[in-house]
Subunit: 225 residues, 2 copies
């Protein structure tokens, strides 16, 4: 079992690799984790000895398949916890990250699987990021569409909300917009491009700006509703 620190190193390496093909440098990691380069070099040696990363002095770091598996496991735990904390326990979207950052390291597989089951095996977390499956597979974000691009009469699932603006996030929470929430587009007003949607059987008017911040995906069985 990797320690909390080791899991965090592996997680960060995984994230840094997503944006770049080159090996990750020790200083990039040090920057992200806000620790010294020296500490990162030391840890690189240890992780390499455990077979979790491949590392050549001065040449940067790559995850081995074993290390990638650990990283994805941690990310899976993080994202499932975020979703659970937000949708089940009602913590604000601003709070869930820090809490999940701790929970991801101490939750057993069994507990995580129970949470996964409780949530109905969701594919995306409150930020719209894909939740790794038990087998390590990452769901693909296909057909990501803005609410403003949906059709009148269509029933959609919220799968991502731009969390750039905290005030917006709080407002959305207040009116009941949360991940996996069902939304029906009742009417699109042409003169101000706002949209009337039905949430929890209430009709609400959302401005163009808000409708552009909510990403949706069509329900597989939308026709049945």
């Amino acid at each position: 079992m990797a320690s909390v620190s080791k899991e965090n190193y592996l997680k960060i390496i995984f994230y840094l690799k997503q944006h770049d093909v080159k090996p990750v440098s020790t200083s990039e990691i040090a920057n992200e984790l806000e620790i010294s380069n020296a500490a990162t070099s030391e840890m690189a040696k240890k992780l390499s000895e455990s077979g979790l990363i491949s590392y050549k002095k001065y040449k940067g770091i790559d995850l081995t398949p074993k290390g990638k598996k650990v990283a994805l496991g941690v990310i899976r735990k993080h994202r499932l916890w975020e979703l659970f904390l937000a949708n089940v326990l009602g913590l604000s979207w601003a709070e869930v990250h820090d809490e999940a950052e701790k929970l991801e390291h101490i939750s057993s597989e069994k507990l995580i699987d129970k949470i996964d089951e409780f949530l109905g095996f969701p594919e995306f977390d409150p930020h719209g990021d894909p939740i790794p499956k038990k087998n390590g597979k990452l769901p693909k974000l296909t057909g990501l569409v803005k609410l403003s691009e949906g059709k009148v009469g269509g029933i959609y699932n919220v799968i991502k909300v731009n969390d750039l603006d905290n005030e917006l996030m709080n407002y959305l929470t207040r009116i009941g917009v949360k991940l996996y929430k069902q939304i029906e587009i009742v009417e699109k007003l042409i003169f101000d491009k706002s949209i009337i949607v039905k949430i929890d059987n209430h009709n609400i008017n959302l401005s163009e700006k808000i409708a552009n911040s909510i990403y949706i995906t069509q329900l597989k069985n939308a026709e049945l509703n």
Copy 2:
């Protein structure tokens, strides 16, 4: 913020003090935590310096009000998590303890309060132990009665199950007996002292032995049902 280790010391000291008026000795703590006496002596010095315990060399340890508050906070977290894991996420009664042992140290007050709220501010955990309130008050176990002592027609709440036997616990879980579950006594059979109860609208016959392992408390509004 006390470290994980320090929280565990304080928690154990609190438990050991419950059974005895005398100060707790360092070796008792060492025994419980399965560490050396030397480590305990060292830690005693530190906790004393932080004002969490009162400690005189060779004379044993007592919690200060400050230390007691921390201990009760940890115990509150532990017991709320146990109940949540068992009743909401469906982990077995055997599993919840180890999981809660980790969760208790990394959960924010806010998260715990949300769990408390989600559970409806319960007073007892899956083992029937009282859950400290936010203010540190411990609910009293008054009127603890065995199911076998209940009245025919009475509607009761399960508040404690003797978890001495794992097979029994699993059986009870299977038939739906869990903490805070409502149980109605339908009939008491005299010839074998077994009891027919209604759980989830099903009638089940419980042997005398089982009925003696389930502790109940009368619902305040039993007459209204």
